[in-house]
Symmetry: C2
Subunit: 343 residues, 2 copies
């Protein structure tokens, strides 16, 4: 569907700063997304290239990785990610996408969009591709927003993930699992054991029990829940392994004439695997639990990665991910305690 | 050095039960180790094959994976791993090696060998190979003994790992890092942030700061410290990725005539990578912090894996790993608080 066929739709707000590939990668990603039918508004430096369906909001201030997110977001009201988030909150854009500082993106989104009523802590959900799974992926959360969690946070993450998986990723009755050190309910940290008990009794979601680190890539579950510390370490371990695979392929194809001959095949077959193992290729991590949509694209994203992040954000908006998440949460009772606390 | 050249040396006590490959894998692993000069005493069922340098202690009782470790170790004084641990404690064997239940091995070792004075919690240290690192490995702990830790436990793990790395693995002044979600000292869980502060001031070890999941395979540090929950999930994620690599290679080489032609090369180059990525190939995880040596070989270990575990245990004994660890710990002051607590 071209952009012309969707005249009234609000654009996705795309931060023009902070991508490793510079504003060129952003502009090219926006162009690809617009060509696929999603209008994009880029908050970038003057001179950022535009294309049909892509408009530019000139924005020279931005927040760098090194800056303390809360301090920077409060101080820099004209920073690109802050302005983009404000436009989403005001309804002038449908969703926020940034490949800049993860902390700044999460903070700007949280301040501007606010939490869904009853949500303790928003969580960052990454799509981890299942190798050989024909495009299937596991929704893995929290992948880095909350380093310390209580059991009830893990329970909410399960509901946030389940509703997003169903509403946006189109998984019917997603199988939800808790990441732990063994399948037995009593294995794991104290917080995980308590969350397991609560999830085993929870209604409105299909809890299949614990999975282990080795099950992440097998597609044993549609949604895998963990704390943001373990989640971040796990994803980066996967990423490091993907890189080790790529390096090994490169050096193998240089190891001799016979290897060089097989090198092309080697590179092609395993380049695909490397992409499949690299969670950053999918499009981005989604911040769940807010009253609006925010997607954190990886800073090293290619233009295709940026475009995928925009398409994901757009789809979340069209599928009413926020309303449907709020509905499921309130029906489940998983927010009851938080609501009591806030009374 | 053949066994005949080391007549007075105490054998390594090897649990004959619990390996996935059965007693045959154990017997073959023992034979390989003995041939390399390390005498082995196998605690296995009657009929277990022996070979020069390998003796059999007949032992038909054992502890299965499903059994609750503490209950089983207390109840089954004749179980193979319990008898093997008792012989190490009594000085009749130099070290304990088991490919059976990890929990039972840790429990039997803890009960029989006791903790080094001042050690809060023994930790399980795995050697993670560095791909392309010419046999280099990272000592990674805790890989699963303690799911919930306090900051002072992480600090002790750093000292336990550093002293083992230096004494047994021969690393001069090992670089010790803390696993976290970013390099900055203030990133991570509350426990990690507090441990970072203490380690930055600690004497007697070379603390290089935080590393991330993606740095695990690069050899950026010699010792990487984390809690047993994150450690277990991380190792199993690596293992799952290694398996995904192997599966992809297998299916790639079946994908067509051209791929089939390159298949042998593909399998050979990447079989090596798979082994390099699989922590189980190295020989086993060592339980650190006890007054004796215990090595947990992976249940799925090949005979070579079993033999490597025996050689590692033997080397730890010969290098006086326990005494040297105790020395470093007491000089470092990292045990002071624990000693105060126990007074």
């Amino acid at each position: 569907m071209s952009q012309a066929e969707r005249p009234g739709i609000a654009p996705v707000a795309l931060d023009g700063h902070g991508a490793d590939g510079g504003v060129e990668a952003i502009a090219e990603g926006a162009r690809i997304a617009a060509e696929a039918g999603v209008p994009v508004r880029v908050y970038g430096p003057s001179g950022t290239p535009t294309s049909p369906g892509v408009e530019l909001v000139e924005c020279d201030e931005w927040i760098a990785n090194e800056e303390e997110p809360v301090v920077a977001v409060r101080a820099k009201s004209e920073a690109s990610v802050v302005r983009a988030a404000a436009d989403v909150a005001a309804g002038r854009a449908s969703a926020l996408v940034s490949a800049g500082s993860t902390g700044a993106t999460m903070t700007a989104a949280l301040f501007a969009l606010k939490r869904i009523q009853g949500v303790h802590r928003p969580a960052l959900a990454a799509q981890v591709p299942v190798p050989g799974g024909d495009g299937a992926s596991v929704l893995f959360l929290d992948s880095g927003a909350n380093s310390d969690v209580r059991p009830q946070h893990l329970v909410q993450f399960a509901f946030l993930g389940s509703s997003f998986s169903e509403a946006v990723l189109g998984v019917q009755r997603p199988r939800v699992a808790l990441l732990s050190v063994g399948e037995e309910p009593k294995k794991g940290s104290a917080a995980v054991i308590e969350a397991h008990e609560a999830l085993a009794e929870a209604e409105g979601l299909d809890f299949i029990g614990n999975v282990e680190g080795r099950d992440l890539l097998t597609g044993a579950a549609d949604v895998v829940v963990t704390d943001g510390f373990t989640g971040n370490v796990t994803l980066k371990t996967l990423e490091g392994t993907a890189r080790a695979v790529a390096d090994a392929v490169r050096s193998a194809s240089r190891s001799g004439p016979r290897a060089a001959a097989g090198g092309l095949l080697l590179r092609r077959a395993l380049g695909g695997l490397r992409r499949e193992l690299d969670p950053n290729e999918v499009g981005g991590a989604i911040l769940l639990g807010l009253r609006g949509i925010a997607v954190v694209a990886h800073g090293s994203s290619s233009p295709t990665g940026i475009a995928n992040a925009v398409l994901l954000a757009d789809r979340a908006g069209r599928e009413r991910a926020v309303d449907r998440t709020a509905d499921l949460l309130s029906r489940s009772g998983a927010t009851r305690e938080a609501l009591r606390e806030s009374e």
